[in-house]
Each structure stands twice: as structure tokens, then as C-alpha cells.
């Protein structure tokens, strides 16, 4: 097999790790709160800017900048819930979509106002690893590993802790949990915080690979939605598997043609798959 194709496939798998992380966050929020955060990828953008500013302007060590980014986005997730989602919680789903869509506009423009449209990077260049004459970017390898660690940590959290169990209970039946002594509002806040933190973690991993600019959310935002829908909205394992399917389509498509066409292919595949499995690939 062609060595570049192998490289493309490996890069696809590595990309899938980060996408899976984002899909998990979005899916968690959808499954529990029943709202789709259209602006989810833009929260990642905010996280990237936080890390960028702390690291380059205030000389905060990268690790602490990243931790601050995760904590900051967790807080941001809570703020988004309190300020935007809570008031429209009982509105029509379309209004909920639009409220977070307005947030998307707001965040992108506000970032433009603060930082301009320049591409910025933190100037950390990680080495390239060579394995059997295949070149793998170390940044992507880290991103993949931490993506998996994040996913496993989320899984354990949901399975093993009290709050995690409560979150799963709300996702299963939001009307009955009140009878079990679970405060629904607190669970919503906790879920938003976790969703935000996952976006923050993704920001740490992406800031190592890509330049930050106000519209970076547009690059992978639509892809994350596709992944979640393909896996079945709210279905975490489905989303996890779908991340790797989509990232492979993009990577292999990019190898045979160009980037835009590989995305066209991915979106078209998504539309067709939706017709084959209208409730997601792994719907029962």
C-alpha cells in the first residue's frame, strides 16, 4: 500500500480522537439538556484564545495556561447555560437552536473585535515522529491520546460518581428524576460545566496543531454536528464511532483529491447515511 495513504489513514485516526472528544461534549449536553449548542465549536475557539493570551502575553507556563483554559471554558459553559439556555428551556427547539446560533455570531465577531482576523499561533513546534518511514506529528499523537483519556475519564465519571449517575438519570427521563431527589437545575449546570470543560480540553489539543482565528469554529463545527447526528444525537458510543468514520472519510478523501472535496464527500456521505439510518447509524 502507498505510504502516503497509510499516513493519511493514521492522521485520520488521530484527528478522530479530538473530534470524538468534541462530539462527546455536544452529545452529553444534548442528551441531558435536550438543546443543541450550535456555538460549541466557537467555545473551543474561545478556549484557544485564552491559552494563546495566557501563554504568549502573560508568560504563563503552557500546562497552567491549558488548565486555565479548561477551567475557564467550564465556567463559560455554566454562563452560557444560565444566560442563554435557561431562559429558552421551554421554548420551541428552533428558538433554542437560534439562541445558540446568535451566540455563534456574537463570539466570532467579539473575537474579531479583540484580536482581528489574523491567524495566531502559540509558537510551540513539537517534533515529528518517524515510525517505519511514516511521519506522524507529535502534536496530533498527544491530541489523540488526551482525546481518548478525556473520553475514558468522562465515561468513568458518568458511571462511577453520584453526579454522573444523576446526569445519566436525567438523560433517561427528565420528568421523573425530581421524585428521586435530584435537583434538575444543578444537573444542568454540572452538565454545561463538563461540556465546557471538554471544549476547553479540545482547545488545548487543537492550539498545538492549528493557528487560532475567529472563524476556526466554522472549520470543524459542522463536522461535529454531523458526527453527533450520525451517531444518533445523545448516543455517546455512537458519536465516538462516528468520529472515526467521518475523520477517515476526510483524511482518505483529502489524500485522493483536495480538502474541500473531501469535506463535500463527508457531508454527502452524511446526507446519504441519514437516509439509510434516519435516527443515526446506531439507533435501535
Amino acid at each position: 500500500m502507498d505510504i502516503f495513504l497509510v499516513e493519511a489513514i493514521i492522521n485520520g485516526i488521530l484527528l478522530g480522537g479530538v473530534l470524538a472528544l468534541l462530539a462527546l461534549g455536544l452529545n452529553l449536553i444534548f442528551g441531558v439538556i435536550d438543546v443543541v449548542w450550535i456555538a460549541y465549536a466557537d467555545i473551543v475557539m474561545c478556549g484557544m484564545y485564552v491559552i494563546y493570551v495566557l501563554y504568549t502575553h502573560y508568560d504563563v507556563p503552557l500546562l497552567f495556561a491549558c488548565l486555565a483554559g479548561i477551567a475557564g471554558m467550564a465556567a463559560f459553559g455554566v454562563a452560557v447555560h444560565l444566560l442563554i439556555i435557561a431562559p429558552v428551556l421551554n421554548s420551541a427547539p428552533i428558538n433554542q437552536l437560534l439562541a445558540t446560533g446568535g451566540l455563534l455570531f456574537f463570539l466570532q465577531s467579539f473575537a474579531t473585535l479583540l484580536f482581528g482576523t489574523d491567524f495566531r499561533n502559540i509558537g510551540v513546534r513539537l517534533p515529528v515522529v518517524e515510525v517505519a518511514s511514516i511521519y506522524i506529528s507529535f502534536a496530533r499523537l498527544i491530541a489523540f491520546l488526551f482525546g481518548l483519556i478525556g473520553a475514558v475519564a468522562l465515561y468513568l465519571f458518568l458511571k462511577r460518581t453520584y453526579i454522573g449517575t444523576a446526569i445519566r438519570a436525567v438523560a433517561q427521563d427528565r420528568d421523573i428524576v425530581g421524585l428521586m431527589g435530584i435537583d434538575q437545575r444543578r444537573i444542568y449546570l454540572a452538565t454545561s460545566a463538563i461540556g465546557g470543560a471538554l471544549a476547553g480540553l479540545a482547545a488545548c489539543l487543537l492550539v498545538l496543531q492549528y493557528d487560532v482565528h475567529p472563524f476556526i469554529g466554522n472549520t470543524f463545527g459542522p463536522v461535529i454536528f454531523m458526527i453527533c447526528v450520525l451517531g444518533g444525537l445523545g448516543n455517546m458510543i455512537g458519536g465516538f464511532v462516528a468520529s472515526f468514520i467521518i475523520s477517515q472519510i476526510i483524511a482518505i478523501g483529502g489524500y485522493y483529491s483536495n480538502t474541500e472535496l473531501s469535506y463535500v464527500l463527508a457531508f454527502t456521505m452524511f446526507i446519504i447515511l441519514m437516509f439509510v439510518r434516519p435516527r443515526g447509524l446506531f439507533a435501535r
Binding site: 428552533i94 456574537f106 465577531s109 467579539f110 473585535l113 434516519p278
Partner: protein, 324 residues
């Protein structure tokens, strides 16, 4: 003629004398408002029945690019090119709509499938950069003042064209509103199974309104392209345009004839006003305020501006009657 129809007529009469009143920039703004108002009205044809499409950016893009491409590469007049663009938009609407409605892809899933569609058109336009100019945009060959090329340097011509387009969109709305299909569509939006049970052909009704909406949207895109004489994938297709359409229509209100027009009037004058106000000193400030206002609008006026006003008036009317 109903009260709404009469007010629409009065507004049209007012619109006919407006262009004489202001400078060219004012006219330019008015043309844009009319064209987008038609597109938003076209979207609301579906949107009011709960078929929320995030894919109308695709139809604007197809409608705008097809006539321009045919004109530049084959010298084909837009009089043929625009119908060709509309035909392609209808084809796309059927290819996506038929399986969607057949397989009952509804709600979030429908919104996201159509979202993917608008991205497919955007990325195809960017990827085919040898033909379309990609992200750099595409300029139709200028032909001066020409009916054949449907190009007029004088804005008044396009003002009349845009006005006619807008009136067409409003009449289509009225036509649907007055017809039997409206009740069928309302039944479908309430409960598809129940609608099917009383003998409504759900698939046909949904497909019909989608095709109508897509065709009108593509026509709007075509007129926009002919007027602007410059096309860019980002400004006529993709998620941004789709969201802009949904926003403005919802902000204005999708349940009343003039709701989408009010949405166009407000959003376009707001963005233009903010842009002029801030100038080039604070890039992004205008859109930041715009975004914040959108969120506030959705939170505090879920019925849209026209819907909220009407409710407020309806609430006041009985009180006024009681006072007499």
C-alpha cells in the same frame, strides 16, 4: 381585500415613490432589503409550518451561480440562465426533500441534514475554483445597459425588479395562506400521523411547499447576483447565509405576511447602520452587537417582532373596548 392585503398594497405604493426621495446609497439599501425580504418570505413558506430548513443558503447559491456561470462561459442570457438555476435548485430540493419526507427525517435531524446541504454547495463552489474562482469570488462579464444580459448600471431598474420579486413572494404567501393546502400543511405540522390518517398526502404536500420555497429562494439569489455583479461562495451560500435567513425570518416573525420583510428591514438596516457607525475602526463591533441583539430577540420575543406587536395590540384592544 383583507386588512393585511390592503396594508401590503399601501406599503407597495409607498415603496414605489421612495426611490425618488433619497441618495443612491439609500436606494442600494432598499434593493438589498427587498431582495432578501423575498428570500426570507420564501423560507418562511416552509418555516411557518415547522419545516425548519438550514439549507436555503444552498438554493441562494445555486440560483446566483448558475446564471452567472452560463453567461460567462456560454454567453447564455440570464433569461434562460435564471430558469436553469431555478430548475437546478428544484432538483436539489427534490433530491434532498423526497428521501427526507419519505423516511420521516424531521426536527433536529432535518435541520442538520439541510445544514449539511448548504455546506456541500459552499464547499463545491470553493473546490471548483478553476471554474467558479473559489473563495476569491466570481464576476459576471459586464455588458453595460442590456436587457439581454439583464444588467443595468442604473439602480432604478433593479429597484423595480426587486420590488416585483418581493410582490411575487408576498403573493405566493397569500396564495398558500388562502388555499386548502394551508390547512393540510398545518395539520401535518401538528401531527404527521394524524394528518396522514385523515387522507392528507403528507409527502406530496411537504414536497410541494419545499419546491416552491426553493424555487423562490433561487430566484432571489439570481436577482441578487445580477444586481451585485459579484458572487462569493461565503456571501451567497453556506451555513452563514442559511443562518442569516433563518434568523431574520424568525426575528421578524414567520406567522405573518410581512414578518420576514420586517426581519429583512431590521437586520439589514441594523447591520448597515452599525457598520456605518463604527466604520473601519472597530472591525467586528457591529456584528458583536448584532449577535447580542439576536440572542436577546430570541429570548424575549420568541414570536418575532411582528408577532409580539400583534399580541400586544390584541391584549390592549379588549381593554380599550372595555374602557369605552
Amino acid at each position: 381585500m383583507s386588512r393585511l392585503g390592503a396594508s401590503a398594497f399601501a406599503l407597495a405604493a409607498l415603496a414605489a415613490v421612495l426611490p425618488a426621495a433619497g441618495p443612491a446609497y439609500f436606494l442600494h439599501l432598499l434593493i438589498q432589503i427587498l431582495i432578501w425580504a423575498s428570500v426570507y418570505t420564501a423560507w418562511a413558506l416552509m418555516g411557518r409550518f415547522g419545516f425548519v430548513s438550514f439549507g436555503h443558503g444552498a438554493f441562494v447559491g445555486v440560483g446566483a451561480y448558475v446564471p452567472a456561470l452560463l453567461w460567462n462561459y456560454f454567453g447564455l442570457t440570464p433569461w434562460v440562465g435564471i430558469p436553469a438555476g431555478i430548475a437546478l435548485a428544484i432538483l436539489v430540493a427534490v433530491v434532498i426533500g423526497y428521501p427526507c419526507f419519505r423516511l420521516r427525517v424531521v426536527g433536529h435531524y432535518f435541520a442538520l441534514v439541510t445544514l449539511a446541504l448548504s455546506q456541500v454547495v459552499l464547499l463545491t463552489l470553493v473546490a471548483a475554483r478553476e471554474i467558479t474562482g473559489g473563495s476569491l469570488g466570481f464576476t459576471p462579464k459586464a455588458a453595460g445597459h442590456s436587457w439581454y444580459a439583464l444588467q443595468f448600471p442604473e439602480k432604478t431598474y433593479f429597484y423595480v425588479i426587486a420590488l416585483m420579486l418581493w410582490l411575487l413572494a408576498l403573493s405566493v404567501w397569500r396564495w398558500i395562506d388562502g388555499g386548502i393546502n394551508r390547512e393540510a400543511l398545518e395539520a401535518i405540522s401538528e401531527d404527521e400521523d394524524a394528518a396522514a390518517a385523515i387522507g392528507i398526502d403528507v409527502l406530496r404536500e411537504k414536497l410541494r411547499i419545499t419546491v416552491l420555497s426553493a424555487a423562490l429562494t433561487a430566484l432571489g439569489g439570481a436577482i441578487y447576483g445580477q444586481y451585485m455583479m459579484y458572487l462569493n461562495p461565503e456571501s451567497v451560500s453556506g451555513i452563514a447565509v442559511s443562518l442569516q435567513i433563518v434568523f431574520a425570518a424568525i426575528a421578524g416573525g414567520v406567522y405573518s405576511l410581512l414578518g420576514p420583510t420586517v426581519g429583512a428591514l431590521l437586520t439589514i438596516s441594523l447591520t448597515e447602520g452599525l457598520r456605518v457607525w463604527f466604520g473601519v475602526t472597530f472591525i467586528g463591533a457591529a456584528n458583536t452587537i448584532y449577535g447580542a441583539l439576536l440572542v436577546l430577540c430570541i429570548i424575549f420575543m420568541p414570536q418575532g417582532i411582528v408577532g409580539t406587536l400583534r399580541r400586544a395590540m390584541a391584549a390592549r384592544a379588549p381593554k380599550a373596548a372595555a374602557a369605552d
